[in-house]
């Protein structure tokens, strides 16, 4: 009961912080200390990419099944929910508004859209996952890539959702929605990874045959991980569609899938905080490079704005050469910072004093009594 109250308080704090940030997302907002629309957009895309990267990390990083079809699942979520919000939501929202008021109706309709997007994608994940996950390594990668492209091409040929001309979608998403779902994604993936299911997933990554020999139904867990991962990609797709207000299949090509993979490879496969870091860096980096000035060198004008894709690639090569496991590897950065915050939501000062020791460092202290050790878990 106390843990529950503390977690609830923590959740309230997070949502309050998100609302405060959202209020800042205009130059007039929050006593004039606002962020302009450009930064608001950047922050929102970071949030969407965090959902994508953290969810992809569940199947790629923790379960060790190299799937590269995330953009396809994102597309299913986006188009399934857009179909509802474009063709049915206006009528439903009007009817609901009469009962619960316009604002609540707006929120309820979008919750329903997210639910539909997530559910449709989870089902698609199940259909794609059951045959694909029989394959391993490169073969699984090729098949998931193929499925993602098939999904995209099929959508491209459905005129009801715009086909090649695209589809205009109402704008439901704002930064609070994205923030809330990013936090939900992180919390759920974190809880899965730390549970018995998570241990089964990690053991599949480490050695599938040995995992099977431990009594783990590896096929079931792989499909489960794939479906959960897909569902969150779908939710990210819903948020993206209703933020961008325009949907085109060009947003869901394999380049998008690769971008998400780059995020987790950069941040660390098998690290939630690594995925968050990767999502933030990969979202900000092209924008930051765009703003570098033109430099004259060797009698040549070097325009960083034009060279940003080259720099972006070079940076990735450097990281792959120096830290192939990603910046964080499988370690988590300061996860006990979060955990202590959950235990003591009232103590912001106490939280600030924490240096955030990584889990890997913590684990080096052997526990004297293994009986106690197991009991505590």
């Amino acid at each position: 009961m106390p843990t529950f109250v503390k977690r609830l308080l923590f959740a309230v704090l997070v949502i309050a912080a998100l609302f405060a940030l959202n209020a800042m997302l205009s130059t007039q907002g929050l006593f004039g200390f606002g962020l302009d629309d450009y930064y608001g957009r950047l922050l929102t895309f970071i949030g969407i990419n965090v959902i994508l990267a953290v969810s992809l990390n569940l199947i790629n990083g923790f379960t060790g099944q190299f799937s590269i079809g995330h953009a396809g699942f994102m597309a299913i979520g986006a188009y399934a929910s857009a179909y509802m919000t474009v063709y049915h939501a206006p009528g439903w929202e009007l009817a609901l508004a009469g009962m619960v008021g316009a604002d609540a109706a707006h929120v309820l309709i979008f919750v329903l859209a997210i639910f539909i997007g997530g559910l449709a994608t989870a089902l698609a994940g199940l259909v794609v996952g059951i045959p694909s996950l029989r394959l391993r390594g490169d073969y699984l990668a090729i098949v998931t890539l193929g499925f993602a492209e098939i999904i995209r091409i099929v959508i491209l040929n459905i005129d009801k959702v715009g086909g090649a001309t695209g589809l205009t979608v109402p704008g439901y998403t704002n930064f609070v929605w994205v923030g809330v779902f990013a936090v939900i994604t992180i919390v759920i993936v974190h809880n899965i990874v730390r549970s018995d299911i998570g241990r089964a997933l990690v053991s599949i990554r480490e050695d599938e045959l040995a995992a099977e020999a431990m009594g783990i139904n590896t096929t079931r867990y792989k499909v489960l991980s794939f479906v959960i991962s897909s569902a969150f990609a779908g939710i990210a797709g819903v948020l993206f569609a209703h933020y961008n207000k325009f949907l085109s299949t060009a947003d869901f090509t394999f380049l998008r899938s690769f971008e998400i993979i780059i995020m987790i490879v950069l941040g660390g496969m098998g690290s939630i905080t690594g995925a968050i870091l990767g999502a933030a860096v990969i979202t900000i980096l092209p924008e930051a490079l765009r703003q570098l000035p033109t430099v004259g060198l060797f009698g040549q004008e070097f325009n960083f704005a034009d060279l940003r894709l080259v720099i972006y690639a070079a940076l990735l090569i450097v990281i792959m050469l120096t830290r192939p496991q990603g910046v964080l590897g499988t370690r988590e950065f300061g996860m006990n910072w979060l955990r202590r915050a959950q235990k003591r939501p009232e103590g912001d000062e106490a939280v600030g004093a924490d240096t955030g020791v990584s889990i890997a460092e913590r684990d080096t202290t052997p526990t004297a009594d293994p009986v106690e050790e197991v009991k505590n878990k």
């Binding site: 018995d196 241990r199 053991s203 480490e206 040995a210 099977e212 431990m214 009594g215 783990i216």
Partner: protein
């Protein structure tokens, strides 16, 4: 306890096992020896459900288990230490042992079993917080065996436990095998090291190109001139 009846297994057109019949009784250590490619690992893979036999049946405690998926065997009391050890390299020693008890829910029993594994292999206790990938080959083998025992199996399948280990470590591993048997677990041991395997087992089967060519008490086989010549290098 475990019976193989006329098992034949094919890899495509190639016949790997040709009508193998063998049995393991409660409380025994039975060893299956043979050269590379004789079908030792194929036999084990058939027992553990990774391969399905073309003909024949595998019976465990009078129930047919051929074709059952591997993960269902653990609940029935069969545990396997896979070839090449198969430890979870990025998990700590303690976490590896906990994985071995994945299907167990009783935390006190898990803690007791972990203590037992540490008593059997004190080296593992010293290294309990170390990642399994950083252990030596011998320590990894100890971990693989300790982990396989965590599910409290009635039948333990060991695939080449002495492979690639130093003689001193091989000795420790075979001591542990005797120890496990004395505590009531039946063992089927697949080995290339015929010398050690025959010394530490009750009965043995000799496999050659997919067929059992000899069987009997390990002592008798160790004294047999044909075995001496072909497997013991005398």
């Amino acid at each position: 306890m475990l019976t193989l009846e006329n098992i034949s297994v094919n890899y495509g057109a190639i016949e790997a096992l040709n009508g193998i019949t063998m049995h393991v009784e409660q409380g025994e250590v039975v060893t299956l020896i043979g050269a590379n490619g004789a079908g030792k690992t194929t036999t084990l893979r058939t027992i553990t459900g990774l391969l399905s036999p073309r003909a024949g049946r595998v019976l465990y405690e009078d129930e047919e288990i051929s074709g059952l998926p591997t993960h269902k065997l653990v609940a029935r009391g069969i545990s396997m230490s896979p070839e090449g050890r198969g430890v979870f390299a990025n998990l700590t020693v303690r976490e590896n042992l906990q994985m071995g008890a994945y299907l167990k829910k009783n935390k006190r029993e898990i803690a007791e079993d972990m203590e037992r594994a540490y008593t059997m292999f004190p080296r593992l206790k010293e290294r309990q917080s170390q990642k399994a990938g950083t252990l030596s080959g011998g320590e990894q083998q100890m971990l693989a065996m300790g982990r396989a025992l965590m599910s409290r199996p009635r039948l333990l399948l060991l695939d080449e436990p002495s492979l690639g280990l130093a003689p001193l470590v091989v000795h420790t591993i075979f001591q542990a095998i005797e120890d496990i048997r004395s505590k009531g677990t039946t063992i089927l041991l697949v080995e290339q090291n015929a010398n050690a395997a025959l010394r530490h087992s009750n009965r043995a089967y000799v496999l050659e190109t997919g067929q059992i060519v000899m069987e009997g008490a390990s002592q008798d086989l160790a004294a047999d001139p044909r075995i001496k010549e072909a497997y013991l290098g005398e």
